[in-house]
């Protein structure tokens, strides 16, 4: 099973809509470096999709020396437009601001599975670095040819090749003019600049197009304007599973400029302005047939009953280990559905022209959305273009193309392009959720506090982060699918948050049950040096060993690893029993993801993820009854705000000797258990369900 997106459909097949020689012709010559993975021309299979070489990038230096980099990755706030430009600047020895990143445009960029799973930094960045390194070699060769000398001894820096011996100098443009060089290189070859020599990578650089954002000039999908743009509105059922019985659109049709589109159960309207579209949708007279649907008060029972999980099952190995255990602990944890709440809701602008469909939309999977569109309209993928403007965040919540398909359907019968912007309520209701789940944990420890038995059963929430880093011979770790009442999908770090909540809470409980300090217990049962390092660093920064046990004050620790990154949190909470008010006083985070690419952006991601994690830990939960979401508004669904930010101490460990891993997800995984453990320390009450809202107003 692919844990990334276990609910959704297949990726599209590989395609290169634009042949590279054709591209070079269009681009007017220069130097083009195309990166080809071993799987590029082979038949793509499921297995090959996981090869690091799966994605190809293009790098082009035009005849004026301007550098353009083409990648199918999308910018959704994780700042990869900046980090990937850094990667190219490093290898090509050119200024960062001279690079143009062309991203997430299915006509112009090579196929990419999607921007998820923290894959951009470990996989895409090295590939673009290889392309840049190859381009660097071409430039040196061109200079050597011009000067009739060897490439050895020539230097490339600040966008020019120099010959230190003679003082000769040629700019990139001078080298590439009137050239047509097309080089295909392997994604695995080429020598990359060692991190000890990094000049651009490893340093803080501001968001490359940051000025566009602080001036309000950047055009998100929701901001796009096209000539004769019309606005769409889709009729939503009153509840999940409701079927349309009758539709009377007479009143809506009387509104000037309005078109009604009905196609099966899909009903939508278009109008020359958003208000008229909304008014027309409201004027539709509809009868629906609703069906019964599970509600949140029966959610966890429902998930267990609809899975193949059998609590009676065990193994002889586990039985034996439990028999040898000094203490056995069996606990159950639950996590609810939560929403991503990207501040920019789903939106799309669709335009049909001569049988070809172009859609601008905010998505993490432009090529996946292209497939969705091609499938929905029976088109060849070459007839569909998806363009992703830098997007108002996703957090795993924008893998799908709902708004794109809807806008395209609305636009198809109209001669105008159509913009559709989901309302916040639509985003809360018709997108998908972080899966809810039940996690049953049973463990046994020796007198000395060594883990002997580990039985971890996850029902529905997912398998990411389910493997335990703790040493234990007898273990059974399983994920069980269930029938999810709500549509569910990816969320930042996926199930790693739920699995770490269960594992790290449970470890705290069992450590305390045998009288071992929670930090010592972890140190005693781990051998992963990188995980140990973040734990020690967090504990040292927090001064864990000297923490003072005071009334109403609690301290908690938790740690974890996922997607090649390591995180540990120590927190202090203050609990007021009379009001049951919980205040988080301090969060210490130690984080390690290999060689740091951009320290300031890394800190921003780490702190942002930790703070976002407070929402899921303390108060976020989707409530639903009879197929309706009960809290589909920001006034009813609380997300972290300014006043929720406690004192933060964030320590980034730079392992320059290790490859860089992505950091957009993993820092979210340890904060919930650290808080639950601190709450127990303060109150003596163990909370095994997220959100920990019993402890929060």
């Amino acid at each position: 099973m692919e844990p990334e997106r276990y609910e959704l459909q297949e990726a599209s097949t590989y395609s290169f809509p634009l042949q590279r020689r054709e591209f070079l012709k269009l681009a007017g010559g220069g130097v083009l470096v195309v990166l080809l993975g071993p799987s590029a021309f082979a038949q793509r299979t499921r297995a090959s999709q996981d090869l690091p070489e799966e994605v190809s990038g293009w790098l082009h230096i035009d005849s004026q020396g301007a550098v353009s980099v083409f990648t199918g990755k999308a910018e959704v706030g994780q700042n990869i437009r900046t980090s990937l430009a850094q990667a190219v600047a490093e290898e090509l020895r050119i200024p960062l601001d001279s690079i143009k990143m062309i991203m997430a445009d299915t006509d112009r960029t090579p196929y990419d599975r999607g921007t998820f799973g923290s894959r951009t930094t470990p996989y895409m960045a090295p590939q673009l670095r290889r392309a840049a390194a190859a381009a660097r070699e071409v430039l040196l060769e061109l200079a050597a040819e011009r000067w009739k000398t060897e490439t050895e001894g020539l230097r490339i820096e600040d966008g020019a090749v120099t010959d230190p011996k003679s003082g000769r100098k040629l700019s990139l443009g001078e080298l590439t003019q009137e050239k047509q060089i097309d080089r295909a290189i392997s994604a695995v070859g080429a020598t990359l600049t060692d991190s000890s020599q990094w000049k651009v990578l490893g340093n803080s650089h501001a968001k490359v197009n940051g000025r566009e954002f602080v001036t309000g000039k950047h055009r998100f999908t929701t901001d796009l304007r096209l000539p004769n743009l019309h606005f769409g509105k889709v009729l939503r059922p009153p509840a999940y599973g409701a079927r349309l019985l009758t539709l009377d659109d007479q009143e809506a049709r009387r509104i000037e400029g309005v078109r009604i589109i009905r196609d099966g159960d899909f009903v939508g309207v278009t109008a020359p302005d958003p208000e008229r579209a909304e008014q027309a949708a409201n004027a539709l007279n509809v009868r629906w047939e609703t069906v019964t649907h599970p509600s949140d008060d029966e959610l966890f029972r429902y998930l267990e009953e609809n899975s193949d999980f059998d609590p009676a099952q065990t193994t002889p190995e586990l039985d034996q280990a439990f028999n040898q255990s000094r203490a056995i602990l069996e606990t159950t944890y639950t996590v609810p559905y939560i929403a991503h709440v990207p501040l920019e809701p789903r939106a799309a602008v669709a335009h049909w022209e001569n049988g070809r469909l172009t859609v601008w939309t905010g998505t993490q999977r432009p090529f996946g959305v292209r497939s969705e569109l091609a499938g929905a309209f029976g088109l060849a993928e070459t007839k569909v273009r998806v363009i992703v403007p830098d997007t108002g965040s996703g957090y795993g919540g924008k893998h799908t193309g709902e708004a794109a398909v809807e806008a395209a359907r609305l636009a198809r019968d109209s001669k105008y392009p159509v913009k559709l912007v989901w309302t916040r309520k639509e985003e809360f209701t018709w997108a998908y959720f972080r899966p809810a789940g039940v996690i049953r944990v049973r463990s046994g420890v020796s007198r000395e506090g060594k883990l002997l038995a580990w039985d971890f059963q996850n029902i529905n929430s997912g398998s990411a982060g389910i493997e335990s880093p703790y040493l234990c011979k007898a273990r059974r770790i399983e994920f069980h699918r269930s029938d999810s009442p709500l549509r569910q999908g990816s969320y930042r770090a996926l199930a790693a948050t739920a699995n770490h909540f269960a594992r790290e809470s449970h470890l705290d409980e069992i450590a305390l049950s045998v009288g071992v300090d929670p930090l010592d217990f972890r140190l005693k049962n781990l051998d992963d040096e990188r995980l140990l390092a973040v734990l020690r660093k967090a504990a040292e920064t927090f001064d864990w060993s000297n923490r003072e046990k005071k009334e109403r004050i609690g301290h908690g620790i938790a740690a974890g690893t996922e997607k090649g990154s390591y995180v540990a949190n120590c927190v202090t909470v203050r609990f007021e029993p009379s009001t049951r008010q919980l205040e988080i006083e301090k969060i210490v985070t130690a984080y390690e993801c290999g060689a740091i690419v951009n320290p300031r952006h890394l800190e921003n991601q780490v702190e942002g993820a930790v703070l976002m994690g407070l929402g899921g830990a303390l108060y976020e939960a989707i409530r639903f009854r009879n197929g309706q979401i009960l809290n589909p508004r920001l006034s009813l669904y609380r997300v972290p705000r300014f006043s929720d930010v406690p004192e933060l101490q964030t320590v980034l460990i730079n392992r320059a000797d290790l490859p860089s891993a992505g950091a957009g997800e993993t820092p979210i995984i340890a904060i919930a258990p650290a808080l639950a453990n601190a709450i127990f320390d303060a109150t003596g009450e163990r909370c095994r369900s997220l959100p920990l809202r019993d402890f929060h107003s």
Binding site: G77, G210, V214, E256, R276, S393, F642
Partner: protein, 167 residues
């Protein structure tokens, strides 16, 4: 039969970023929609439509206002300032510069609203303490939770004499 909507468009005089505009618009229209659709000022964003997230914040007579819950019709003759009005002759406003310098954003969707709220605060209280900033900015959501950097960016401008002399 096609009927005109009962809300025939009306002509409204709006003063935005120091410029007078006469717009023919739908009187039911929110100020947010008016700015975006009638004037093409897309800096203010839709985030929730109920004044809960602050992405649509603009200044009206110097106060931070959620433009998604104000009708354009009610704002005749008022002085409206949007994010587009801050940059002068290619020179960023100190708050914009500080947001850039501190990387006080991730996806950037909340950024215009954040800057406009912070501007309203500094206009009234040029030297706010951290807790005053936090209280004032509570209505602005940064879903990426870049709050610590946003706070730093505002504090830096609050600590400087920069913005007081320029306005």
């Amino acid at each position: 039969m096609v009927i005109r909507m009962q809300l025939t468009s009306i002509e409204i005089a709006l003063r935005v970023n120091g410029q007078e505009h006469r717009v023919k618009t739908n009187p039911r229209r929110s100020l947010l929609s008016g700015l975006r659709e009638d004037l093409g000022l897309i800096g203010a964003k839709y985030g929730c439509g109920e004044g809960q997230c602050g992405a649509c914040t603009v200044l009206i007579d110097g106060d931070a206002v959620r433009s998604c819950i104000r009708r354009v019709e009610d704002l005749k003759g008022r002085d409206i300032v949007t994010i587009e009005g801050l940059e002068k002759d290619g020179q960023l406003h100190p708050l914009q510069q500080s947001f850039l310098d501190h990387d006080a954003l991730q996806c950037g969707y909340c950024t215009p609203g954040m800057i406009m709220s912070a501007l309203a605060l500094l206009n009234k209280n040029p030297r706010p303490e951290s807790d005053e900033i936090i209280e004032f900015m509570e209505g602005n959501i940064c879903r990426c939770c870049a709050y610590p950097r946003i706070l730093k960016a505002i504090l830096q401008v609050a600590d400087s004499d920069f913005h007081r002399t320029e306005s």
